[in-house]
């Protein structure tokens, strides 16, 4: 049934594209849907475009694993629309033609701006494309039982068909459909979560028995660890991670499992059971919790309430949304969260351990789990940097900006933005409940936070899982389609037609756009496979930082500062883009991805916006003033 619903949904979307493709005859139709989309449809399509894999998969996953810090993304993403509505929407619509590059080049007619803006559009679209593709791979694994890379290839292939057949018109209606469905079914999911209520032994509605991970008493005997609570355990080795966590490998009945070593105040030891994956150096089959990986032996689903309002065994029954937040935030509520540690065993096998720890519910409902708001000033700057990039990034995303050209005029652009704010705001309020539901329902895959929302849906039955997964897949399709249209516009319209001035005919321009869509789709597929495993909302946050650094200063200053020059705009785009990408490449998160120690990264924060956005603004002002003086002297 899951497969049938999923395939029917995808077939409908592709069919719609082919139908609309027959009506697309001009480049205006291809890039801007002829500028004839109704503002209500455009507003919901904005939501469909914007509520990407990052919003649905990533934010829910981050709230489920890191609490309120994930909700910060919801707040920041929505706040960004205020900038788009109050500052950008109407003026940009009046300036523009088809693309972001058209708009900022309108006052100058500068080939340098055309080139810089086209490159920036391509870079931002590709940065944004990566998490969508990662999200696609994540979805397909449990849904169709296919490996991650097949999910990525599938999305890439379908999007290429959608975009290559009809461009912006089909993209708009796919986004409209998916945006509406996403909000409706997210609401259904939240109602289901509240109806089931909270429990310290969540059993997914009676379908999956809750597994309580064990804790055993032990003592140290020299280098050896002796389990005192049970017999038959043999200590194999002990490992200490760079973060100070200690793990012991214990063997019983021929299976070796890893346990975290906690030291009690009296010097006695407590061993906490983990979920562990061991990849043998010899390259043979992976071991999951000491046994070979198989369909019957996978990582267990986790995430539960350790104590609810001070009680270790309790449940609430149906609960209101307000009651749900209050119960989790109660001073007596503790939540079991799971962290990842990686190290090599003494025989050089790669070991990944997911281990539990209890956090106060009240602590999870305010910022600080991921972003160190009480850390050093540098650590706090990471939080400020994120909030700045989210606030300023939305209004600078090329695939969002091009949607202002699909409506008949400036006032329609404004009205569709307001519809978008209503729809997107509703969804973001729901993310908190979906995330908290996933956190406490025993549905999380500790190896991949991105699947929190679909796995939460699965705990309510296969029908909801199939529908939610199909919508999530369409979410990826809709956003990737918009990104590919924006990127293909940058290549065919901005670079080939405007910058290189090739004098293309309308039909050649459409053909070039479609060819570019294929190329961008192929690059997206490759990057999606490369970045497997990273939280998608974190990756989108970085794309926002690049957009806010490269594009926003140029847009704002062109609109509001009469002394801006073409040279200043070009310098600002280049400096903003290069500095943000450079800071990301040298950040702790990327250091971790390279397999290095994150604390050794040359840049101490992961979000570059706090440096790169002001730098881009300053560059624009200084270069504009200098080039203006130069021009006056020359004159």
């Amino acid at each position: 049934m899951v497969l049938t619903i999923f395939l029917a949904f995808v077939a409908f979307i592709v069919g719609l594209s082919v139908y609309l493709g027959r009506q697309t005859k001009t480049s205006s139709g291809y890039y801007a849907a002829g500028g004839q989309i109704h503002w209500v449809v455009n507003g919901i399509a904005f939501a469909g475009d914007y509520l990407s894999a990052a919003s649905f998969l990533g934010i829910c996953g981050m709230i489920a694993t890191q609490g309120y810090d994930g909700f910060l993304y919801s707040i920041g993403y929505l706040a960004g629309w205020v900038v788009a509505l109050f500052v950008i929407a109407e003026p940009l619509r009046r300036m523009g033609r088809y693309t972001f590059a058209d708009a900022i080049d309108a006052p100058f007619r500068s080939s340098g701006i055309q080139l810089a803006a086209a490159i920036s559009t391509l870079v931002v679209s590709l940065c944004y494309l990566i998490p969508q593709m990662v999200g696609a791979g994540v979805l397909v694994e449990p849904l169709l039982g296919l490996p991650h890379h097949w999910g990525v290839i599938m999305v890439g292939g379908i999007v290429m068909i959608i975009v290559a057949t009809a461009g912006m018109a089909s993209t708009t209606y796919v986004q409209f459909l998916k945006g509406g469905l996403l909000i409706v079914f997210s609401l259904v999911l939240v109602i289901a979560v509240c109806w089931r209520g909270l429990s310290t032994a969540p059993d997914q509605g009676g379908t999956v028995p809750f597994y309580r991970h064990r804790a055993m008493a032990a003592r140290a005997n020299g280098e050896k660890i002796v389990v005192t609570e049970e017999t038959g355990w043999q200590h194999v080795e002990t490992k200490v991670t760079p973060t100070g966590d200690r793990f012991a490998a214990l063997q019983r009945d021929g299976a070796t499992t890893w346990w975290r070593i906690d030291t009690a105040t009296d010097g006695a030891l407590e061993l906490r059971e983990t979920e562990c994956i061991v990849k043998p150096k010899s390259g043979t089959i992976r071991q999951i919790n000491g046994r070979p990986e198989s369909p019957d032996n996978t990582i267990r689903q986790v995430g539960a309430i350790a104590s609810l309002r001070g009680e270790a065994n309790a449940s609430t029954g149906p609960i209101s949304p307000v009651g749900l937040i209050a119960a989790i935030g109660d001073p007596g509520t503790k939540i079991t969260r799971w962290r990842e540690s990686k190290f090599n065993s003494s025989s050089d096998d790669a070991v990944t351990v997911y281990h539990p720890s209890e956090s106060d519910g009240a602590r999870l409902l305010r910022p600080g789990m991921r972003f160190k708001v009480q850390g050093t000033w540098l650590e706090r700057m990471d939080f400020v940097s994120l909030m700045l990039a989210l606030f300023l990034g939305t209004a600078a995303l090329p695939h969002i900006l091009i949607r202002y050209y699909t409506v008949p005029g400036a006032s329609e652009a404004r009205k569709s933005t307001i519809v978008a704010i209503g729809a997107i705001g509703t969804f973001y309020v729901l993310t908190l409940f979906m995330g908290l539901g996933a956190m406490t329902s025993g549905v999380l895959n500790p190896a991949d936070s991105n699947m929190a929302a679909p796995l939460l849906a699965r705990s309510f039955g296969n029908l909801l899982f199939a529908v939610i997964s199909a919508i999530a897949f369409a979410t990826v399709l809709g956003t990737v389609s918009g990104l590919v249209v924006a990127a293909s516009g940058a290549v065919a319209h901005d670079l080939a037609d405007r910058y290189l001035n090739l004098g293309l005919s309308d039909s050649t321009k459409i053909l070039l756009g479609k060819t570019a869509a294929l190329g961008v789709g192929a690059i997206g597929i490759a990057l999606g496979i490369m970045f497997k495993g990273m939280n998608v909302t974190f990756l989108v946050g970085l794309a926002f930082a690049v957009a806010a650094s490269a594009n926003l200063p140029a847009i704002i200053m062109i609109l509001f500062w009469p002394r801006v020059t073409a040279t200043g705009v070009i310098a600002s785009i280049i400096i903003g883009m290069v500095s943000s990408l450079g800071l990301i490449a040298l950040s702790p998160d990327m250091w971790g991805m390279y397999g290095l120690l994150p604390s050794a990264a040359p840049v101490p924060f992961s979000n570059p916006g706090i440096v790169s956005i002001p730098l881009s603004f300053i560059t624009l002002v200084v270069v504009s003033l200098l080039s203006k003086s130069q021009k006056l002297l020359t004159d």
């Binding site: 001009t26 480049s27 205006s28 801007a32 002829g34 500028g35 004839q36 309120y68 909700f71 919801s74 707040i75 929505l78 706040a79 629309w81 205020v82 509505l85 109050f86 500052v87 109407e90 009046r94 300036m95 523009g96 033609r97 309108a106 006052p107 307000v322 009651g323 937040i325 209050a326 119960a327 935030g329 109660d330 009240a362 409902l365 305010r366 910022p367 708001v373 009480q374 939080f383 400020v384 050209y405 699909t406 409506v407 008949p408 005029g409 400036a410 006032s411 404004r414 009205k415 933005t417 307001i418 704010i421 209503g422 705001g425 973001y428 309020v429 037609d497 309308d506 321009k509 609109l559």
Partner: protein
Amino acid sequence: MLHEPANNSGQIDPAAPYKSRLGLALFGLYATFYAAFVAINLLAPGLMELPLFWGINFAVVYGFVLIIAALILAVIYDALCRAQEAKTPSTSAKDTQAWS
């Protein structure tokens, strides 16, 4: 065709300066509210844990209010823009290049 707007209404909007000023004022208001949220988290993060009502803490209430406030301000902005557009209707123009 290639260098024309996707769909040009052919109108000059005399309400544009008013809408621009209004937009900036509302942006300033919201940005201040947003900046206060960031500042409280940095300077007094413990405050965010305080229960306000029905057991819901300050952080959750502030987050929801930030989301709802965006919609309320957007509706106010639209209403004021419509009123101004009704007072000063758009006029046709041959030169439709109207960025301001």
